[in-house]
Every structure is written in C-alpha cells, then in structure tokens.
C-alpha cells in the first residue's frame, strides 16, 4: 500500500517552507517549491492511481491511520486517510489541475510583490482540499473544509490594499460560514444518533439505525446539504461567488471553479447513504440545483465582467451537479465535476491571460478582435467554451451534461419539470458561451493588446484544452457506445443510478439536448455576432433595461439579503447603541442614588426626629406582638 500521507504532506511542506522563509528566497526558488510540491503530489497521484486501477485493493479503498487526533469517551478521531475511487478522482483533479494552475501561476504572478505568500496560500489550499477528500472521518473532513474556507478567504483578499477585495473576502467567509455552521450541527446530530463520525461507519450503520428511529433521518442530510450549499455557492447562499472573483485568476480557476466549490458535491456524494434514506432531502437537493442553474445562467447572460460571467456559469454548472445528485445520478454528477474542472479551469486561466494582455480590462465589451492577435489563446478558449456549451459529440461537456439531462427525467427521482429546467439551462449556457466568445474574440480591438504569454502560460492552457475535449470519451452514453469506464470505477463507491420504469427513449432526449445547444449557440450568434448582431441595433426600452439590471445584479439577491437581514440587524444595533441591558444596571444605580437621597434626607440631625423614629419602630413591633 502506498504512503497516502505523502500526497497532502508535500503541499503542506511547501506551505510551511514558504510561510516561514518565503521572503528570503528568490522568485525561482519560491516557484520551484510552490509549484514543485504540487507537481510531485500530482505525479504520486498518477502513479498510485494507475496502481489502484490495475490492482484494486480489497474493499475498494486504501486506508492509512497516521495518528490519533483526540479521544473523548466513545469518540475517537484519528488522522486517518482513505483513498477509494471517489477520493482518487477528486485527488487526481486537485493535484493534476492544481499542478497545471501552479505552473501557470509561476508565470502569471511573476510580477507580484507577494510571490511567496501567494504560493504558500495556494499550497495550503491544496493540502486542505486533499485532506477534505481523503479524510476517513467527518471531523478530519471538516478540518479540510474549514481549511479551504480559510485559504479561499486569504486568496480572495490577496490584493488586500483594495477595500473592495477585502469586502469580497469577508463576504465569502461570512456566507460560507452559515453553511459551515449548519454542517457542524449536522455532524453533532450524526454523532448523537450513530455514535461515530467515521465515514464507512456512518454509511454502514445509517440504514439500520434510521430504520428504527427516523427522527433525524431528514434533518441530518438537510443540514449537510446546507453545508454543501454554502461551500458550493448554491441558492440561497450563492451571492459570494461572483464577488470572490476579486482574487487573482489562478485562484478563481483552482478554488472557485475546479475544486473548492465542488466540495459540496463531494460531501453529498460521500454521504450518499444518508441522502438515499431521505427522499425529501434528495428532492430538495435536486430542486435547489435546478433553480440555481437557471438563475445563475440568466445572470451570466447579461454580465459584462468576463470573470463574473464565468463565476455565474460556475454556479450554474454546480447547479447541474446538485441536480444530478438530487435525482440519484451519482456518477453523472461526479462525471460533470470531472469535465467541468478541466474546462472551467481552462476558461478562467484564459480569461486571466486576456485580462493581463488588455491591461486589467474586465469588461468584455471593451475587448474584441483577439482572434487574430492571440490565436493560440483563441483556440484554447474556444475548446473551453465549446465544452461549456456542450457542443455535441466532440466536447467533454456534452457527455457529462447530456447524462445529467437524461437522468433528470429518467432517473428514480427525476421528472419532466427538472428536465425542462435543465434543458433551458443548457440553452442559456450555450447562448452565453457563444456571447462570451464572440464579444471577446471577434470584431475589432477596442483596447490595445499588450504582450503577455509564454511557455509556462500556454502549456497548462493547451493541456486543459485537450482534456476538456477528450476527457469525455471515457464515458459514453449507453445507446451510442458501450464504454463506461468512469461509472464502472465509481460503482465501487457510489450506488448505481436507478432508472424509472417508463423512461423516454434516450435518443430522443439526446437529440433535444443537442438541438437546444445548437439553438443556444445560434441565438448567441444571432444577437452578438459583430456588425450583424441584433444586439447592436436593438433599442432597449426602460423595462428591458430594468430587467437586465435585475439579472446583472444576480436577481438582486444581495439587495434582498441587505433588506432582509443586514438592515434589520443594523436597525437593531442602532436602537441598541446604548445597550438595553446597560439600562437595567444604570437603573439600579439610579435607584440606589435616589434611595440614598431619600434616606439621607431623614438624617437631618434632629435628635427628636430620631427618637420619634425609634418610637415608631417600637410601636410597630408592639403592634405586631398585639396582632399576632
């Protein structure tokens, strides 16, 4: 059995070295340590992954107990790592895509003052994320979960001199905290019910236990789902992700597209045993996914900031994953995560190049004409956008999204409504992908193009571009080609998808999905192709403009939360500026003072007055004696 701990330990070492001595190293050394540690992890992952596939271990997982973390009565939590097919896939994505993004960052962040801090944070992130997916118990998973939250905060606010970036970092931190708190409560309940937090233990015990007492069988998955919603930026906690684009582009690519935001997907897939016990939690997951993918897709349609388009698109794609999880298409969700990691990382990295080349211009309508100026970038971006739009048969995105669309109707929990929303989402996705591509790369250049690029920049881009085209071929739809390497491997961990009795013919749905995609691409072309595009001749009315700004602000969720939560809270704090409880204490003080005044008025120095008081006292006592 390989030394599993090496995979997270290498980035951790990189982090520690850079954190403690980063300022003293030269840039080359920093790049070597920062990128090298993740690349080494990726190499080990590849080697062991091949070994895993060739000779699967007994029980479908390698486990490794490092040491005991803490022990309280019956709760024993160890630093235990576990690598099964699901973890392996995530570890592969994290280390491999992570390594590519690190290579890219070596060149991308070259001019930055805090080179070492950047790589230290990135390494810490990779380490935390690896812990999250390799954890054998939920406490260790939670450690990784909070670790990636911390790194996300650190990296969103990487350029901390700008207050807006700090605001975005705080926002991301606070909003994910809501989900994390819910998840922590879920863990407590889980421990209370089952008495264990080990993942295999939970999955083994849950069916019998909740068959006996179903008191928390719905609440626990819902709480875990809330954690996933916060981390994965799903409705209603999705508002942090568009603002999180304040961080550097590699950060957006690694954390806010490929890995961290899919932690929620991982958590639900990991806890599938609990979700399967509660049909309601499954339905909630599916509905949240469906609504999110539609809402975020609509917002992506009207954004003008290139990174915000991609951010909303990320929310929308994760919505697809949640939808797939909710309908019970476990492996389809993970497959979409797999392909999405490639093409979305690619799109973010390419967007980073565009932004750098155009001197930090984010507005896509001030770009244009990059097709001739940067052809290599154009082709990589094209493959990414095509994959995002799910261009049939030649892109990876098609295979994964088509599977989800099909299962949205035909899987056990699926129905036509979910399918219709997902189809609309597919149409919208194709539409905004085309819009993005056309506006940025066609037409005439509106901003002078600077020189930016290099081998280190393009190597990851090309690799990812290739992967975002071909990675889908490992899993074909059943009716076209019986090649299902991906789901076969995941069968060891995740239950197979159960189909409905009378599901519609798969060919028909595939055809509709492909048509929707093509139609979306045509719509985008029709509206946004330079010169002939309708959008340039279209006179928008005020009502349309209002609707557009409504979508632009992400369906006004920020404003909604501001009026619902922030303003009442501020109002309360304002009226409570002089602490209400202080009034009790100052009232006591004031009462004492006034009593003091009252009694000291009776101390008037008159002897006869005192004697009269004594007399009244005696009278009182004697009267008491008489009466009682």
């Amino acid at each position: 059995m390989p030394l599993l701990a090496l995979i997270p330990a290498l980035p951790l070492t990189g982090f520690l070295v850079l954190f403690l001595g980063g300022r003293r190293f030269s840039r080359n050394v920093i790049a070597g340590i920062g990128a090298g540690s993740v690349i080494a992890s990726a190499v080990f992952t590849l080697l062991w992954g091949i070994r895993f596939l060739q000779s699967p271990p007994a029980g479908g997982a390698w486990t490794q107990s490092l040491w005991q973390w803490f022990r309280v009565e019956s709760l024993s939590v160890g630093i235990d790592l576990r690598l099964d097919a699901l973890s392996l896939l995530f570890v592969f994505i994290i280390t491999f895509v992570g390594a590519l993004i690190h290579i890219y960052s070596v060149a991308f962040m070259r001019q930055d003052r805090d080179y070492a801090r950047f790589f230290a944070s990135m390494n810490l992130f990779v380490c935390s994320m690896l812990l999250l997916v390799m954890a054998d118990n939920l406490v260790l998973l939670y450690l990784g979960w909070e670790g990636v939250g911390l790194c996300s905060y650190l990296l969103i606010g990487f350029w901390y001199e700008k207050p807006a970036n700090c605001y975005a970092a705080n926002k991301a931190f606070y909003i994910t905290r809501i989900g994390d708190t819910a998840m922590a409560i879920g863990l407590f309940l889980l421990f209370k019910e089952l008495g264990t937090l080990s993942i295999p233990g939970i999955l083994n015990q849950a069916p019998q236990h909740f068959a006996r007492s179903a008191s928390y069988s719905t609440l626990i998955p819902l709480l875990l789902l809330a954690g996933g919603i916060g981390k994965s930026a799903q409705l209603p906690l999705q508002t942090w992700l568009p603002d999180a684009m304040a961080g550097p582009s590699p950060v957006s690519a690694l954390i806010h597209a490929a890995t961290m935001v899919t932690a929620g997907v991982y958590l639900i897939a990991r806890m599938h045993g609990l979700f399967l016990l509660s049909p309601m939690a499954m339905s909630v997951t599916a509905v949240i996914g469906a609504i999110t993918l539609f809402i975020a897709g609509c917002s992506a349609l009207v954004q003008t900031d290139i990174k915000r388009i991609l951010a909303y698109s990320t929310i929308s794609q994760i919505g697809y994953m949640f939808l797939a999880l909710g309908v019970g298409a476990w492996s389809a969700a993970i497959f979409h995560f797999f392909t999405h990691a490639f093409f979305k990382a690619l799109l973010f990295l390419a967007a980073g190049v565009v932004i750098e080349a155009l001197h930090h211009e984010h507005n896509i309508f001030k770009m244009g004409g990059l097709r001739q100026k940067m052809p290599l970038l154009f082709y990589t971006f094209l493959s990414g956008a095509a994959s995002l739009a799910a261009l049939p048969l030649i892109t990876a995105g098609f295979f994964s999204k088509d599977q989800i669309l099909w299962y949205a109707w035909s899987a056990g929990n699926g129905n036509i409504l979910l399918w219709a929303i997902a189809l609309a989402g597919a149409f919208i996705t194709a539409c905004y992908s085309t819009r993005l591509l056309l506006v940025v790369f066609w037409g005439e250049a509106k901003t002078p193009v600077g020189k930016f690029g290099g081998r280190l920049i393009y190597l990851p881009l090309i690799t990812l571009a290739a992967l975002s085209l071909i990675s889908g071929f490992i899993e074909w739809p059943h009716n076209i080609l019986h090649l299902t390497l991906f789901s076969d491997e995941l069968q060891q961990v995740l239950p197979a998808t159960i189909l409905q009795e009378n599901h519609p013919p798969e060919f028909l749905l595939q055809g509709i999905a492909a048509t929707a995609t093509i139609a979306g691409i045509y719509m985008g072309y029709h509206w946004y192709y330079p010169i002939t595009g309708r959008i340039y001749r279209w006179q928008a009315g005020t009502r349309m403009l209002a609707f557009r700004s409504f979508l632009l602000d992400g369906w006004k969720f920020d404003q909604l939360y501001r009026t619902l939560f922030i303003q009442p809270f501020l109002y309360l704090t304002r009226i409570n500026k002089n602490d209400v409880f202080d009034r009790v204490y100052s009232g006591i003080a004031r009462g004492s003072v006034s009593l003091n005044r009252l009694f000291s008025a009776s101390q008037n120095g008159s002897l006869r007055w005192y004697i009269a008081a004594v007399l009244i006292g005696i009278l009182f006592i004697v009267t008491l004696q008489l009466l009682l």
Partner: protein, 201 residues
C-alpha cells in the same frame, strides 16, 4: 397598703405630668423631686424600703440637686421661660403625644392580657439585698464602679472650661465666612510677595 400605693402612684403621675409641661426648669425640677418621692413611696408599698431610701437620697437628693445647681449655674431665668412658652406649641407636642399614648395603650393592653396575680407584700430588706449584691452580683457592683469612675473622669474632662474649641471642619467654615486671623493672612501675603519677584527674575 394598696390605698397608699394608689395615692402615691397618682401623685407620681400627676407630678410627672407637671414636670413635662413646665416652662421654668426649676419648677420642673421641683415637680420631679415630688415625683421621685412618690416613687419612693411606691417602693415602700412594694416592700423595698432600702431602695426607697436610696431613691430619696441619691435621686431626689443628689441627682436633682445637681440639676438645680446646674440650672443656677447657667442662669436660666425668665428668658428661658418665655422661650419655652414659644417652643411648647400644641402643633409641636400633639403628634408625638398621640404616638406615645398609642404606645401606652398598647402596653396596657399587653399587660392586662396577663392574668392578674396579687402581689404578696413581703419586705425584702437591705440585708438580703446586700447579701445578693455582694454575693452573686459582685461583678455588677464592680462594673457599676467602673461606670461611675468613667462618668466622673468624663464629666471632669468635658466640663473643663476652655476657650472656644471647635472641630477642625467647623473651624474652617468659621474662617471662610468669618474674619480670618490677620497674622495668617499677612503671612500668606508675605509669601506671595516674596515669591513673585523671584519668579519674574
């Protein structure tokens, strides 16, 4: 015996009423002497001749005479009487009197709740008192000795005729609105005068 008791009680009460209503201190004192004599009579009827003798000798004889000397020493004459007349208005005494009379009523009610036991008058003479006093109550005698000693020393000390001697707080008050001693003010002025040229130089 009981007739004697009632008569002397009546005299004592009437004389005491006179004491507290007189304007002239000397008159009040004389009435008090009468009251004390009546009390001595009560003691005799209660079978305590020794105490009766002491009442006459010490209370009526010594203490009251001390009062009389005192009043004479302060020379409280007609002015005091007039002042007392002004002070003793009905609105001043009616409230406390009612309160006190309520107390008296309550005391009497309490006393009458007891079943009346006839008082057997047997004389407890000086011999018995002396035996008890110097036997089991010897410590009381000693304490009384201490008390009298302290009283004498205290009286001698307090009564020493000195110049006006105020508490330091009162003294400051007096100085602030009265005329401060000239010498001190001059001294202060000198100090200020002395200092000013120095500070300028």
């Amino acid at each position: 015996m009981s007739a004697l008791f009632y008569i002397s009680s009546l005299i004592a009460i009437l004389a005491t009423i006179m004491v507290i209503t007189r304007y002239n201190p000397i008159h009040a004192l004389l009435y008090l002497v009468v009251s004390l004599m009546a009390a001595a009579m009560i003691f005799v009827t209660l079978g305590a001749p020794f105490v009766a003798a002491l009442e006459v000798i010490i209370y009526a004889g010594a203490i009251m005479v001390l009062f009389i000397f005192f009043v004479m020493m302060l020379n409280l004459g007609n002015t005091t009487t007039l002042q007392e007349k002004l002070w003793l208005q009905p609105k001043i005494w009616i409230g406390p009197s009612i309160l006190s009379l309520i107390l008296l009523g309550e005391l009497i009610v309490l006393l009458l709740q007891e079943k009346p036991t006839p008082l057997p008058v047997t004389v407890v003479d000086a011999r018995k008192v002396a035996l008890s006093l110097y036997g089991e109550y010897i410590i009381i005698v000693e304490l009384a000795g201490f008390l009298l000693m302290a009283g004498i020393v205290g009286a001698a000390h307090i009564g020493k005729h000195r110049k006006k001697h105020l508490h330091r707080f009162l003294q400051e008050e007096e100085n602030s609105h009265g005329h401060p001693p000239a010498s001190q003010a001059d001294n202060a002025k000198q100090i200020v005068d002395h200092k000013e040229p120095k500070s300028i130089v």
